[in-house]
Each structure stands twice: as C-alpha cells, then as structure tokens.
Symmetry: C2
Subunit: 146 residues, 2 copies
C-alpha cells in the first residue's frame, strides 16, 4: 500500500504529538494513518486511506483496520457508517468533539461532517429503552455531482 503524494511532514509531526499525548505506543503505521486522516478534508474509506499512505512506509491492510479501530476507541477519530456498507473515517478535531451530523453524496459517496447541524438532544423512545447516541445523516448530492 502506498501512493504518489507525500504526506506533509507537519501532519506527521502532529500525528506523533497526538499519539504521544494519548500515552500510546508510537509506531510508523499509526503515525502514517493518523497523518492521512489529519490531512483529509473529508471522511475516507479504509481503501482511500490505504492508497493515500506514503509509499515509503508500506502498511498491511489489516494493520490499517486495526489502527483505525484503535484511533476510534481512543477518540482520535470517528467512524461513519455508509449507505454502501463501508466505514468512513475522520480525525476528530478538537473543535468537533460534540455530536454532529454527516452529509453523504448518494452519487460519489463523498462524506463530510456537518458541524453546523446539531443532532436533536432529546428523542422519544419506547418505555424501557435507553437512548445513548443519535446518528444523523443527510443524503443528497454534493456540489460536483448535481
């Protein structure tokens, strides 16, 4: 796995800083994957992340999956379920910690966070049910698809 464009060194440094700050073991795959997410302007699939990795550091597919899981449990990234049954991943910016909505283009699959849209804080659920998280996804067409 690897591709053409080099990751800006700044993003790699930021990734390392975040991993260290979380008190976690620093490895090349972890740094590389997180750097890709930090550099992305939209949610990325596992496949997109794999091919965005710098060619110098080949990372196994399975490792990418494991790093992503680990980033999610750590809170450094969040995972968005897609209509096409694939997860997409975004680095959790400091300014986007709260619950928020997502937009997915039904034609090209492009997915972005909608920071402006607040998810309804209170929903009516049946007796005995315990709501924990609200997922709000807007489907439609992105700017380049309509």
């Amino acid at each position: 796995m690897g591709n053409a464009t080099l990751r800006p060194p700044a993003k790699a440094a930021a990734a390392q800083r975040l991993i260290r700050a979380a008190g976690q073991r620093l490895t090349a795959p972890r740094t590389a994957v997180l750097a890709v997410l930090l550099d992305a302007k939209r949610a990325l699939t596992h496949h997109e992340i794999g091919s965005a990795l710098a060619p110098g550091v080949p990372v196994d597919r399975v490792t990418v999956y494991r790093v992503l899981d680990w980033l999610v449990t750590l809170g450094l990234a969040h995972r968005i379920p897609g209509e096409d049954r694939t997860w997409r991943f975004v680095a959790s910016r400091v300014d986007s910690h709260g619950p928020h909505a997502h937009f997915t283009c039904s034609r090209c699959g492009k997915t972005v966070c909608l920071e402006a849209v607040a998810t309804p804080p209170d929903v009516k659920v049946p007796r005995g049910f315990l709501p924990q998280k609200v997922e709000l996804t807007v489907q439609g067409l992105c700017a380049s698809c309509h």
Copy 2:
C-alpha cells in the same frame, strides 16, 4: 430456508392483496416474504426473514434479496442501514409513510421504527450541496438489554 412457526394466514392474504393492488405479479416467494414483514413487530435482517419463512415454501437466498429490493422500490417496505453493516427491513405501514427515525439496540441489534420522532425537516448543508433524505438513528439499549 424455512423454520418452525407458520405464518398467520391472515398475513399471507394481506400480502397478496398488497401485491395485487400494486399491479405486480403474484408469486409464492413474494407473498411469503411480505407476509413475514407484515407479521414482524420490528425490523428484520435478511437472515431473520429467511429463517422466518414457512417451511412449506422454500425460498432461495437470492430470491429473498431480490424480493426485498423489489418491495423497497415499490414502497411496500423500507430498508434501514445498520451499524453492523446489514440491512434491516420493515413493511411500510400506511400510517408510517412519512420520514421517521429508528432505534437500534447496540447490544442485541433489535431495531424498531420511532414513529413519534420526526426527522428534522431542514438542515444546513455546505454551499452547492443538495440534501435529499435525512436518516436519523438512535443507538442505545433496548428494554431487555439493560
């Protein structure tokens, strides 16, 4: 595919009526699958539907998938994307035509429609984006899981 419990004949008759009313060809698999959905009190996975089918009418997996797709395009059922990357299906009752939210138990996967919760009619999306559908899913624990 087939299991132990017989489908109430009333549901089979209702299924036939709905298919006829839609001006579609009436077949045993279609009747059987729709009857299962009409009888269900919650959203069912493809697998659950398969094993809920009356044993007398064996239906191929692929046919179940195709019937479900067909029911969805016909508007007789709707499909709910799950956190576990599987679709769940519900018959679209006459009284639940509008957009509505869903609840999914994060422990047992049980999924139900939340008729009472309306999805936000208007959401702010980036310039040039065209919203078309809003998906609202509440995650949490169902009555028997907490």
